[in-house]
Amino acid sequence: MGIALALLGAASAALFAGIGSAIGVGRAGQAAAGLVTEDPSQFSRALILQLLPGTQGIYGLLIAFIALSNIGLLGGQVDTGMSVGTGLMYLFACLPMAFVGLVSAMQQSKASVASIGLVAKRPDQFGKSMIFPAMVETYAILALLISILAINGIPR
């Protein structure tokens, strides 16, 4: 039972953060495609702005990977007798990344879309346009940090 809860935690980090990034990158991609139809030379800039909401998925993967390797599901000894308490600890430790990853990726994509609009009108302002989506990402990073610290703090 414990190991199943821990696995649920790892899976939800990858799951929700991944969903958020997929939605985010998709949404930003539509705007980017629009920009490139008008001005193909803006491709690389549009691509960078599109990819910004994609990092949450990577952070989710990161948490899932650390959790999986800690509970021994990656090539180690699987602790089938893990207590429910420990399992819940893993589950809760993964939650910040799961939820903040989901929501921040979606919100970041809105900033990305707006920034792509900015680049469309003023290509010279690309440097600044990158910062607005990056502001949203801060919270995903903070959640990632807490999830990492929490998983590492679980006694083994």
């Binding site: 994609g54 990161l62 440097g127 990073i141």
Partner: protein, 670 residues
């Protein structure tokens, strides 16, 4: 590391020299021309209207560009992946003059190409027209009379279609019902498909009108008339179609035959672009009957040589003035080879405003380190540095902005290599994985900190770098204020904050909470007490000074208290540096995911190794791309938000010299 001082240059020269002087200035690329509006009341100086000739040059240039496009679609130019880095082709002044003489001939070629393109478009438009005609005629192929056939001496013929599928009997029946008193009728169905029935109906000439009336009520439609028998007509159309296709091919070939003129056309496009630009400047100059005046900003270091050059070659009077404080002086940065590459980063934020320092050098130092910590892999850094180094060395004519960017990534690669060594990351944990999967040995890579197993230690390192970064910002702020003799600002905006933040840090290091959390050694309580005192002095000072522009003491204290609240801003700034840890971990964890995937398949002999190598290459390239992007974005953010927030406002205008803004060629002036 500085903003170059500018001179306000005024040149007065003879009107006959004006084109030569402008060309000289355009090639030197050292002067930003100040253009002034025409002053109607000025009776001595006036501007000449150059819009007509300038428009002609713009048009010529656009035509040449269009011809290049046409040429490229008929005979694509060979280009490699690296051509994006190649830059403009350098040519000497003599080559320029020689090429400029050929301009009329080249423009004729350009017009020929455009004419051929028009023919091509027309020929292409013919094809759908002919195809539609063929389609319309196909149902009538069995008819032995032309479509215009109206009948014989005694009979009348109706050729046309019904919009439904009908047999001969059905048609005869309906006709009989619609016109009961018609004596003789002959219905021949020529073709029936797609809900359309094509028919030939004959009747006596005397009953023509009755049949006509009946047919109209049955939705009978007549086809487009032609005097040839359908099969012959079809042959004619086929010949037309073949001719059109042949015409397209031959026109394409004719266009492609101009491929060897491509370089000339490129030159001519640039040539007219340059002339258009020159004429636009010419239009802004103040001129009298025999003289003219150019005004502009020149960087001080070029002012001397420029003055000398001009007075040697022409009869001119040159004056170099110090700009008035009210003037909008453009900003040009000058930095050494180490800092210069990040000028682009500064530029995309904002150029330094009046009186501000050029922040390029401190930004460069931190940029390479911060980027390195976020990518943090020796091998990735080595790949980046090597790739950019080879590109820079190989592409001699690379444009300056591109060269700067690549040099920046070269240094970022060095930073990445350094932090890769610190954290023992070489393609992630590849050495360990390879040693254990292929050689059955355990290999321990030497490292200072292992971010994955000691995240708290790593976090402390990140915060330490953050504190240094933020304090560097405050120090620059202090320096700028002192230099501008704003001593009160220097103390209240920098010194007090340094006292408060440093005091809080010292005090924090004596508390159990902080030291326990980060497993640090507690420092002596004396230091903590000093910290307390520093923090209190800082806090009181900020409350007193932050609202200093208000005269009302009550308001001033309230503003001061609000100012003190900004201390939370420092906390969030500091926490922001945890992204160094997060992004560094992202790189190393994802690379170890790929390494592990590789090692899982590596068990099977031979094939396993191949798969391992495949996964290794693809996985690590992907990881490098994603994380280099992340490191770039977040290194920028740390500079723009956290660092610049402490001292930098920007707002300057970039120096844009009167230059040859060409696309293909670059003239080298000795």
């Amino acid at each position: 590391m500085s903003v170059l001082p500018m001179k306000h240059m005024i040149v007065c020269a003879k009107r006959q020299d004006r084109k030569a002087i402008l060309e000289k200035l355009q090639r030197t690329e050292a002067v930003e021309i100040i253009s002034r509006e025409d002053d109607e009341s000025d009776e001595v100086f006036n501007r000449i209207d150059v819009s007509q000739s300038s428009q002609l040059f713009v048009k010529n240039s656009a035509q040449a560009e269009r011809a290049l496009e046409v040429l490229n679609s008929a005979a694509p130019e060979k280009s490699s992946l690296l051509s994006a880095f190649a830059g403009r082709t350098p040519i000497t002044l003599e080559e320029y003059e020689a090429n400029a003489k050929k301009r009329d001939k080249v423009m004729r070629d350009v017009n020929d190409i455009l004419k051929l393109d028009k023919e091509l478009t027309e020929a292409k438009a013919d094809i759908p027209r002919i195809t539609t005609q063929i389609e319309a005629l196909t149902p009538w192929i069995g008819l032995t009379e032309p479509l215009s056939f109206a009948g014989t001496k005694k009979t009348a013929a109706f050729i046309g279609t019904f919009p439904e599928l009908l047999t001969e009997a059905e048609i005869a029946e309906r006709l009989a019902a619609a016109a009961p008193d018609v004596e003789a009728l002959d219905v021949n169905v020529i073709n029936s498909e797609d809900n359309i029935t094509s028919v030939l109906i004959s009747c006596l000439k005397t009953e023509k009108d009755k049949v006509d009336e009946a047919l109209r009520r049955m939705n009978f439609q007549r086809p487009p008339v032609s005097d040839l028998i359908p099969s012959e007509q079809l042959d004619a159309y086929d010949r037309e179609l073949k001719a059109a296709v042949a015409k397209i091919d031959s026109t394409r070939e004719a266009i492609a035959s101009y491929a060897d003129k491509r370089e000339d056309i490129k030159f001519i496009a640039d040539y007219f672009r340059m002339r258009a630009e020159k004429y636009e400047v010419l239009g802004t100059l103040a001129q009298t009957k025999r003289t003219f005046i150019i005004e502009g900003f020149v960087p001080e270091q070029y002012a001397g040589t420029l003055e000398q050059d001009l007075s040697q070659s022409f009869d001119v009077a040159v004056e170099m003035l110090d700009p008035e404080p009210s003037e909008d002086v453009p900003v040009l940065l000058k930095n050494g080879p180490f800092a210069e590459p990040v000028e682009g980063i500064i530029e995309s934020y904002s150029m330094p405003g009046a009186g501000e320092l050029d922040p390029t050098t401190p930004v460069a130092c931190f940029y390479y380190i911060l980027f390195g910590m976020m990518l943090s892999d020796f091998a990735y850094g080595a790949m980046m540095s090597l790739a950019t180094f080879v590109l820079i060395k190989k592409m001699k004519n690379m444009e300056r902005p591109m060269r700067k960017t690549l040099t920046m990534f070269f240094y970022c690669g060095l930073g990445t290599m350094l932090s890769g060594i610190l954290f023992g990351s070489y393609f992630g944990d590849a050495p360990t994985v390879i040693a254990s999967t292929f050689f059955g040995k355990t290999l321990e890579v030497p490292k200072l900190i292992d971010p994955l197993s000691q995240p708290m230690k790593m976090l402390v390192l990140c915060f330490a770098i953050g504190i240094i970064h933020l304090f560097a910002g405050l120090v620059i702020n202090l320096y700028t204020a002192l230099k501008q003799k704003r001593y009160v600002d220097a103390v209240s905006d920098s010194v007090l904050w340094m006292l408060l933040v440093a005091g809080l840090l010292l005090f924090g290091l004596t508390t159990d909470m902080v030291t326990g959390m980060f497993s640090l050694n507690k420092i002596s309580p004396v230091a903590g007490n000093i910290g307390k005192i520093m923090a209190v002095i800082g806090a009181i000072g900020i409350v007193l000074m932050d609202g200093r522009e208000s005269r009302n003491w009550f308001k001033r204290t309230l503003k001061g208290l609000y100012g003190l609240y900004n201390v939370t801003g420092y906390l969030s700034d500091l926490l922001s540096y945890s992204r160094l840890l997060a992004l560094g971990l992202a790189t190393s964890v994802i690379s170890s995911v790929f390494n592990q995937m590789g090692s899982m398949v590596a068990g099977t002999p031979v094939v396993g190794v191949i798969f391992f190598i495949l996964i290794f290459i693809v996985g690590h390239l992907l990881n490098l791309a994603i994380n280099a992007l992340g490191a770039y974005v977040h290194a920028n953010r740390l500079q723009y938000v956290e660092f610049f927030g402490k001292f930098y406002n920007g707002g300057g205008r970039k120096f844009t010299p009167f230059a040859t803004n060409t696309k293909y060629i670059k003239i080298q002036d000795q």
